[in-house]
């Protein structure tokens, strides 16, 4: 569908005047189009591109009232890296990614495959499993905060009592806090991935399954040789998205634990937030965010190289 809008201009090769006309025409047409897209250009410039460049640039300066006040080289980076909390936050962030791969990665695939098999109550199941997605992030974090309440008043402790176990400290236990936060995030995020996998599953040619059934292939053989190859590109995409997303986790620990107990759930981004808006050291926040940015950029670039190899 190419634009065919040159009807008015005669194809006169030799006439300089008409050629200028054509140029002028194209120029005003382009200009008009750019005028329409101007609000978008301005907003993308101010909201997306400029802040990234500015963030990297300002991370090498001391800031006063958010204005650059003197170049300091890598001073901010050195301060961030030598902060006693940095290593802990880095370890926790990788902990979040690790637990999220362990807890959140498989359920949406399994659920989508199972749901795709259903003849009965398919709509109801889909509705229920997607429902947590529409619960606002803060509300979801708070609901789980209440479910995880330690002591006899917590719902989950009550369930533990009913099967004869003692109270758990839940979020207050530094070993459990990250996996529990991830569990609550899985509860909320599972529906989105599930819908994407389900859409991919519906794209599988049904005749393949029928033909292999006649050839005597069982459930797991078909899963391995028909379903899985079909899903693998989207599995990879969602895997990378999950890693990049979880690496930037902030609101959930902020709401549920505030980074505690004893900084056991402090993530890099939450630490960045604390630098910027609690300790009022925005230059440190910038340096820390640039570090995260570089790590994530590495993961994204790696994905694109992998993706290219896969599609060939």
């Amino acid at each position: 569908m190419k634009p065919t809008r040159r009807i008015a201009v005669k194809p006169a090769a030799g006439a300089p005047r008409e050629r200028t006309n054509r140029w002028l025409n194209a120029f005003t047409r382009n200009g008009k189009a750019w005028m329409i897209v101007l609000p978008s250009v301005l907003l993308f410039y101010f909201i997306m591109w400029r802040p990234i460049a500015e963030g990297v640039f300002l991370s090498f300066f001391k800031l006063e009232n958010y204005q650059a006040a003197g170049f300091v080289g890598f001073q901010n980076y050195r301060e961030v890296l030598s902060d006693t909390l940095f290593l802990g936050a880095l370890k926790n962030t990788f902990g979040y990614v690790f637990w999220s791969l362990l807890i959140s990665f498989l359920p949406p695939i399994i659920i989508a495959v199972a749901l795709n098999e259903m003849v009965h109550l398919k709509g109801l199941f889909k509705f229920s499993i997607y429902f947590p997605v529409i619960v606002p992030t803060v509300a979801a974090a708070l609901i789980w905060y209440f479910l995880y309440l330690p002591g006899d008043g917590g719902i989950l402790n009550m369930l533990r009592h009913s099967i004869g176990l003692k109270n758990s400290e839940w979020l207050q236990n530094p070993i459990l806090t990250i996996p529990l936060i991830i569990t609550s995030m899985t509860w909320r995020g599972c529906g989105t991935s599930m819908v994407l996998y389900l859409a991919a599953l519906q794209g599988v040619n049904q005749e393949l399954y029928e033909a292999s059934t006649i050839d005597g292939a069982g459930f797991f053989l078909k899963l391995r040789y028909i379903t899985f190859p079909h899903l693998s590109p989207i599995i990879l995409l969602l895997l990378v998205r999950q890693i990049v997303g979880i690496f930037q986790v902030m609101v959930e620990p902020m709401t549920m634990t505030g980074g505690g107990p004893n900084n056991a759930s402090l993530s890099l981004n939450l630490q960045g937030y604390n630098y910027a808006f609690v300790y009022f050291q925005p230059e440190r926040a910038l340096a820390l965010n640039v570090i995260t940015f570089v790590i994530l950029l590495g993961i994204t670039v790696f994905y694109f190289r992998l993706d290219k190899k896969l599609s060939i």
Binding site: N30, I134, L196
Partner: protein, 296 residues
């Protein structure tokens, strides 16, 4: 009950289902999904049921899951004392602004990239798509700086919803959705309007928009839901309690020590509107996710 012979999708074919052990496997999957669905629905249902308990029942140990007391008047009382009407109104004002920016700025960008294609448009589209790949956290401090002191013009956007509106106008994802949808509109419609003397903006308003109702509904639902749950930027930018949105208020309640029973009702207020939207527009929302995810 539906028969297995109607089965038309999935790994297990209707032929397989004639065997006994495959049927058992099928019902195992069914049971698994039933358990997962229960886990998914339990927390919001628990909030819903707990909202009507009185404080005394709330503090009993062990807690009751199915309430013994029923006090609907409490919900209305909390609505009034916590001034939720204000927070609802604020959130709606913020959401409407975001919706307008989202549809017009991103829609016009999609229209120009898809239809008018001026020189440089494809480069612009590429730059826009790249922003989806870049981690957002790096912009936190510079964006805050932008909102408290806009370059050259030096004005502050603190205590307004303008920052959130502007951010809604720079949504690469929606530009992509619009562009992809506009690509499917036949050229002949646009040409016919142009020959009739319609301007570029006229074509957008009179031809493109009416033909794009399905995508408009999807984008609108997502935009409104996104505004409803937006927490971080409203929390940073809005300093005046009278201007707080629902999600921000929910977060602030935690540190101001409200009793748990009131908190449940506040949670209920924050879940109810998106839940209603979901119940009515379920099909569009699930379709929207599918449309977006495969290409992104």
């Amino acid at each position: 009950m539906r028969a297995f012979s109607e089965k038309s999708s999935g790994i297990i074919t209707s032929l397989d289902l004639k065997k006994r052990h495959v049927q058992i496997g099928y019902w195992c999957l069914f049971a698994l999904l039933a358990v997962i669905s229960t886990i998914c629905l339990f927390p919001p249902l628990w909030v819903f049921m707990s909202s009507f308990k009185d404080l005394k029942e709330f503090l009993t140990v062990p807690p009751t899951i199915i309430p013994r007391s029923f006090h609907p008047e409490k919900v209305i009382e909390v609505w009034k004392t916590l001034r939720f009407a204000t927070y609802y109104r604020n959130t709606i004002v913020m959401a409407i602004g975001e919706l307008i920016f989202c549809i017009f700025v991103n829609g016009l960008a999609g229209y120009v990239i898809s239809r008018l294609r001026p020189k440089g448009a494809s480069l612009y589209y590429k730059l826009v798509l790249w922003t989806m790949m870049l981690p957002a956290s790096i912009s936190m401090v510079p964006l805050f700086k932008l909102f408290i002191d806009f370059p050259w013009l030096h004005f502050s956007m603190l205590n307004t919803y303008v920052p959130m509106w502007l951010m809604a106008g720079a949504n690469a994802f929606n530009v992509m959705l619009f562009k992809n949808f506009f690509d499917t509109i036949p050229d002949s419609y646009v040409e016919a309007a142009r020959i009739d003397g319609c301007s570029d903006l006229g074509i957008f308003a009179k031809i493109i928009m009416p033909l794009s109702v399905p995508i408009l509904i999807v984008v609108a639902i997502f935009s409104v839901n996104f505004s409803w749950e937006a927490f971080f930027w409203p929390y940073l930018v809005i300093r005046d309690k009278k201007l707080d949105t629902v999600a921000v208020q929910l977060f602030k309640m935690k540190s101001s020590g409200f009793s748990e029973d009131k908190y449940m009702i506040a949670l209920l207020f924050s879940i109810l509107p998106p839940a209603l939207v979901f119940i009515f527009f379920q099909k569009y929302m699930i379709q929207g996710i599918t449309m977006s995810g495969i290409k992104g």
